[in-house]
Amino acid sequence: MGVPLFAAFKNIGKERIGGIWSEVFIECGNVMKEQHIDAGEAWRMAIESKGVNIPLNESDWQELSDFGEMLGKSDRHNQESILDLEKENLEMMESKAKEAMNTKGKLYKNLGALSGAAAVILLI
């Protein structure tokens, strides 16, 4: 039996990612575990409650709110493809943010950490 998503989210929050995303991941794992809801809904609830101070613009939030939508709903092979796609998407967002580094100095670091987390969800 592999690691279920709620535990993966909590592990990432505690051990694999630091800073402001840590709380979001832990909250997402807790909400999934306690309320028995899917990753998409739990992720949206977590970023609404714990992600308010993360400096991202509206379109970035829009992209990120769909992050968990497909997680957990298919087999491992399919999940890996979804996460690869998600990682590419986050890397694109990160590079765009880097271009606008002067105005959004801290932003790309946040997205970079998140894309790293996407890659490890199924590995732990």
Binding site: M1, G2, H36, G72, R76, N78, Q79
Partner: protein
């Protein structure tokens, strides 16, 4: 206590896994009938059904029971999908190994069998998608059900006979084996039998019903469990690594099982095993494993059966001589094996009341 524990476990299961409408329907069933509930069958586009002491009844939206499906709660495709995700803790990939074996083991030792569209990769099942049916089977460990059989299997205070339990499906082989494991492992003062180091190779996760590595059933204090491992490999691994005195396996049958059992015997380790068969002669005719019941093979044979709803058990020596025949009074209780009770509620009383309840609710309001 068993009845109370069962209802508590059942309520936990309801709150964790069942979608709202199904939860409401099942929680509407009275506690005393819940005691008789063995399975909940959820099928896409079909009525919700329960199996109560072996009998099928459809379950209405408020929990009334009927043999007429038209009064039952009709299950939607979405509800089956939601239930499947809940059973997998919203993480299908994490349960993939279980899913391709056709079931998911749940906390508490319960098990959900699944049907859908099978996806192959080469000769192996890769996935099951488009889930159409789910059968939640409630685990029930019946402590004491093997006591009388156990007495016949003791060689001396520190040793037992190599034993083979035979029966057709649904006659209680696994239940008896599970209780034998517990008794062998913990020892028994009245028989002056000292407990033995017991290793369980639980290929189908039915004996221990391990959930995340923790056995959900009590298999005794000297028991080690190798979960999900093939018997042929597991027996060898246990011999090498765990130094058991007894190895317990369910459902011998694969060709590799014969060599593994012989390897254990050569190492001086006892084997307690089950197999599907209608009797000793039937088993002996089996290719491969049949030879294990020949001379120098199993020393005690336990045959389990059911006639007209009554269970019985027959214990024989290696020559087929009957040592004892244990009968019982009731299909559900294990009679001479050890009475099962639900607090003050006897099984017969529960069955009578279930029948009255079902009759009274045949025409729902």
């Amino acid at each position: 206590m068993q009845g109370k524990d069962r209802i508590e476990g059942f309520n936990k299961l309801l709150s964790t896994y069942l979608p709202d409408r199904i939860k409401k329907a099942v929680s509407g069933i009275k506690d005393e009938y819940i005691n008789e509930l063995e399975e909940i069958r959820v099928r896409s586009g079909l009525p919700l059904m329960g199996v109560f002491s072996g009998a099928d009844y459809f379950i209405g939206a408020e929990g009334y029971l009927s043999q007429n499906p038209q009064y039952a709660l009709n299950i939607t495709e979405k509800e089956v999908n939601t239930l499947f995700l809940l059973l997998c803790e919203q993480s299908i990939y994490a349960y993939q190994d279980d899913i391709i074996r056709g079931f998911v083991t749940l906390k508490g030792g319960h098990r959900a069998g699944i049907c859908g569209t099978v996806v192959y990769e080469g000769d192996n099942i890769k996935a099951i998608k488009d889930i159409s049916s789910i059968n939640i089977r409630f685990s029930r460990q019946i402590k004491g059900c093997a006591c009388n059989v156990f007495h016949q299997l003791i060689r001396n205070r520190q040793d037992i006979y190599n034993t083979l339990i035979l029966s057709p499906p649904r006659c209680g082989k696994t239940t008896v084996l599970r209780d034998l494991c517990r008794l062998i492992s913990q020892g028994n003062d009245s028989n002056k039998f000292e407990g033995l180091r017991t290793a369980v190779v639980d290929e189908r996760s039915e004996l221990a019903a391990s959930f995340r590595g923790v056995p959900q059933n009590d298999l005794g204090p000297r028991t080690d469990v190798l979960d999900g491992c093939r018997k042929s490999q597991g027996i060898e691994m246990m011999l090498r690594g765990m130094a058991p005195q007894v190895i317990i396996v369910d459902e011998l049958g694969a060709t590799g099982d014969v060599d593994a059992v012989k390897m254990a015997w050569n190492a001086g380790v006892r084997i307690i095993a089950t197999a599907h068969a209608f009797g000793l002669e039937d088993f002996k005719r089996r290719l491969g494993v049949g030879q294990l019941a020949a001379k120098d093979g199993f020393e005690r044979i336990v045959i389990l059966g059911m006639d007209n709803g009554k269970r019985w058990a027959k214990v024989m020596d290696e020559n087929g001589n009957e040592l004892s025949v244990l009968a019982q009074n009731n299909r559900m209780s294990y009679g001479l094996y050890g009475e099962r009770s639900y607090g003050n509620h006897s099984v017969n009383q529960a069955r009578r009341e279930t029948a009255c309840y079902i009759k009274a609710h045949r025409n729902p309001p």
